[in-house]
Amino acid sequence: MIWEPFLSFFVYPGLIATVLIALFSDWVIRKIKACLQARRGPPIYQPIADFIKLLTKEDVTPRQAHRHLFTLAPMAAFAAVLVVMLIIPFGTATPSIGFVGDVIVVIYLLAMVSVMIMVGASASANPFAAVGASREMMMMFAYEPALIVSILAVAIQSQSLSFVGIIQFQLEGGWMIAKLPIAFAVFIICMQASLGKLPFDIAEADQELIGGPFVEYSGRKLAIFRLVQFMKIVALSSLAVALFFPGPYMGHIGLDFLVQFAKIMGIVAVVAFIDALFPRAKINHAISFFWKVLLAVAFIDIVRALLF
C-alpha cells in the first residue's frame, strides 16, 4: 500500500523503533556495567530522561566555530545511521530498501557517521576537539580495514554483495557464525572500536580530553550526537545479526521482531561486558593491534571462505 514505505521509514524499523531500541540498549549497557561494578544502575527511563534534559539545555555555538558545519554534522550523522537501519534487514529476509551492493553502502554510511563526528569536532575551534578528531581519525584507519575484511569474508562465502543474497544463503545453508567464527570475532572487536567503547574509547577519553570531539556541543546538537551513538549500537548489532546469524523467519511480524530484538540484546550485552572489564588501550597499541594482529587474523577467514 502507499503508506507502507512511510510506515517502515518512520515507525518500524525506521525512526521510532530505532530510537526506542537505541535508548533501551543504552540502558542495558549501563545496567550491566553497574551490576559488574557492585552498583545498582539507572532506572529504565534514564536514557530518555537524559535525552529530554539535553533538549532543554542551551545550545551554544562557539563564535569561532564554523557555524554551518557545526550544525550540519549531527544532522548528517543522524540521517546516515537512520538510512543504515532501513537498508539492513530487521526481522525480515528482505529489507525496506534493498539492492545489489547494499552491504558496501552500509559500510560507507557507517563510516560517514564517524566522519561527521570528525567534521563536527574540527568545526568546533577547540584544541581538545581537534585532538579528539585526530584520534577518531586514527581509530578509523585502524578498525575500518579489519571490519571491511570480515564483512568481505561473509560476502565471499555467500557469493553475494546484497543482504538479500547473504540472508538467503544462510537460510538455506546455516548460520555464517558457524562457518566463519573468526570473522565474527573480528567483527565484534571492530564494532567495539567503531562504537568508541572500551578498550577503544580513545577518541572520547573523558579522563584526558573532557569530551573529546563533542566538547563544544551542548543542548539539542549534543542530544542528537549522543542518540546517534546509541543508534549506531543498534545498527552495528543488526548488521552483525544479518551477516552472521539471521534467524528463522516465522512470517509473523511480532515474533520476528522479538527474535531480532533478543539477538540484538545479546550482542549489546557482549559490548557491555567488554566495556566494563577492559582498561583503555593507548592509541599506538590500538593501531598496532588492529593492523598487525586483527587484519591478519581476518584474512584467515577470507582464505577459508575462498577455499570452501
Binding site: 581538545f128 578498550p199 577519553a205 579522563q207 584526558e208 573532557i210 582498561p279 583503555r280 593507548k282 592509541i283
Partner: protein, 392 residues
C-alpha cells in the same frame, strides 16, 4: 636551530577529572609533552589569616577544614605545635588513639587514591569495587569518631572520644575484612600486566630531582628516599609500634603506586598493634593557657609531611600559624616528571603525587589592576628579588 611547533594544552582550572581548581599548562608537540607549568593558587581561602582571629581551640576546627582527605593530620600537626609550646605530656591512651585514627585515615586516603588511579586508567569497575571497600573504613571511622569526614576527634592535650572495651571485638572483626580487601588489591595491582604496562616507566622522578624539589611522602619514597616523619621524628605512639617504611627505587608512577599499596598493609599492622597494646587511662589532659613561645608540629599525612609552625604571645589567640602541606612541594615536582611523556599519561602523572589542592594554596599574587599569571620560576625569582630588597 629548528623551531618546534608547540601547542599549549591547558588543564583546568575547570576540568572534569580534577575535583579542585588547579591550572596546569602542558606544552605539547603532537602527543608528547615537552614542558609544563602549574598555577596552584585557585583555592586560597586565607586560612592562615583566619587563624589569627580565632582562639586556639577554634583554630583546631579551622585546620580540620584545610583538606577533606587529610582531615586529621592538619589538626594533629597544629595541636602538636601547641602542645610543644605548652609543654603538655600526653596520656598514653591518647597517643595510641591518635595513632589508630591516623592510620585509618591513611588507609582511606590510599584506597581513594587507588580507586582514582584505576579511574584514570579507565578501569572503572575496579574503581567502584575499591571505593566500596573504602566504605568499610569510612564506617569504621564513623563508629569511632562519630563522623566520616570532619571528624573533630583531636583536642589540645588528647582526643575527645574513647573507644569502649566492648567495641574492640567489632573493630577487630572489621580489620580482618579490611586486611583481606587490602591484600586483594595489592595482589591485583602487582600481578596484572595491563596495569604494570600502563604505569611503569611513566613520569620518572630521579632521586636527585626529588631532593631538588624537596618532595615528601610516597612521592619521595617512590624515588628511593627513605623519609617518613613517623620514623624520623616519631609522634603519637609511633615509637611504640613496629612497622616498615616502604620504598621503591624507580621513581615512576608504578613505584609510587606500589609504595601506597604496601603502606596500606603496614597501616593495618600498626592498627592491630595499637589495639593490642593500648593502655587504659585518660584520653586527654586539661590544658590551660598556651604560654608565649614558638612551636613546631610535624605529622605524616598520606601525602607526605605536614608542617605547622605556631607562634603564641600569651593571649588566647595565636599570633601566627604557618602551614606547609605536603602537596605544596609535591605538585611542583610534576613539572620535572611531565616532560617526555605522552598527553595520555599526564593525568596519571599528576595524580601520582596525590595532589590535594586545598592543602596547597597558601599564596596568591595579585597586582592591583591586571592579574599577572606567574610561572613557578618567575614566582621564585620574584620572591628572591623582594627578599633582596628587604635586606638592602
Amino acid at each position: 636551530m629548528e623551531r618546534k611547533t608547540q601547542t599549549v594544552l591547558p588543564i583546568g582550572p575547570f576540568f572534569a577529572t580534577l575535583e579542585e581548581p588547579v591550572h596546569f599548562r602542558l606544552y605539547v608537540d603532537g602527543e608528547k609533552v615537552t614542558g609544563a607549568d602549574v598555577i596552584i593558587s585557585y583555592n586560597h581561602r586565607g586560612i592562615e589569616k583566619l587563624a589569627e582571629s580565632r582562639t586556639y581551640h577554634q583554630v583546631i576546627y579551622l585546620t580540620e577544614r584545610i583538606c577533606g582527605i587529610c582531615n586529621l593530620v592538619h589538626p594533629t600537626a597544629y595541636i602538636q605545635a601547641a602542645e610543644e609550646i605548652a609543654k603538655v605530656e600526653l596520656p598514653d591512651r591518647a597517643r595510641y588513639l591518635r595513632t589508630i585514627i591516623q592510620e585509618l585515615e591513611r588507609i582511606h586516603s590510599h584506597l581513594l587514591w587507588i580507586g582514582l588511579a584505576f579511574h584514570f586508567m579507565a578501569l572503572d569497575t575496579i574503581y567502584m569495587h575499591v571505593w566500596k571497600d573504602r566504605e568499610i573504613v569510612m564506617s569504621l571511622l564513623e563508629r569511632i569518631t562519630g563522623n566520616r569526614v570532619n571528624k573533630s576527634y583531636l583536642t589540645i592535650g588528647g582526643v575527645r572520644r574513647d573507644i569502649k572495651k566492648d567495641e574492640i571485638p567489632k573493630i577487630t572483626e572489621i580489620l580482618i575484612i579490611l586486611e583481606a580487601a587490602v591484600k586483594k588489591y595489592v595482589k591485583i595491582a602487582l600481578e596484572d600486566r595491563t596495569i604494570k604496562a600502563r604505569l611503569q616507566g611513566v613520569g620518572i622522578l630521579t632521586p636527585q630531582k626529588a631532593r631538588e624539589f624537596s618532595v615528601t611522602g610516597p612521592t619521595a619514597r617512590g624515588s628511593g628516599l627513605t623519609i617518613d616523619v613517623r620514623k624520623d621524628d616519631p609522634y603519637a605512639a609511633y615509637k611504640d609500634v613496629s612497622f616498615d617504611v616502604v620504598t621503591q627505587s624507580e621513581g615512576d608512577v608504578w613505584s609510587k603506586a606500589v609504595v601506597r599499596l604496601f603502606e596500606l598493609v603496614q597501616s593495618v599492622i600498626i592498627i592491630r598493634q595499637c589495639i593490642d597494646q593500648m593502655p587504659s587511662g585518660d584520653i586527654a589532659v586539661p590544658v590551660g593557657e598556651i604560654p608565649p613561645g614558638e612551636g613546631i608540629g610535624r605529622a605524616e599525612a598520606p601525602r607526605g609531611e605536614v608542617f605547622h609552625y605556631l607562634k603564641s604571645n600569651g593571649s588566647n589567640i595565636p599570633e601566627r600559624l604557618k602551614i606547609r602541606a605536603p602537596s605544596y612541594v609535591n605538585i611542583p615536582s610534576t613539572l620535572a616528571m611531565l616532560p617526555g611523556n605522552l598527553i595520555a599519561d599526564a593525568p596519571l602523572i599528576i595524580a601520582s603525587v596525590d595532589p590535594c589542592i586545598s592543602c596547597t594554596c597558601r599564596v596568591v599574587d595579585l597586582k592591583s589592576n591586571n592579574q599577572r599569571i606567574f610561572s613557578m620560576e618567575e614566582f621564585a625569582k620574584f620572591s628572591q628579588k623582594r627578599k633582596r630588597n628587604l635586606i638592602l
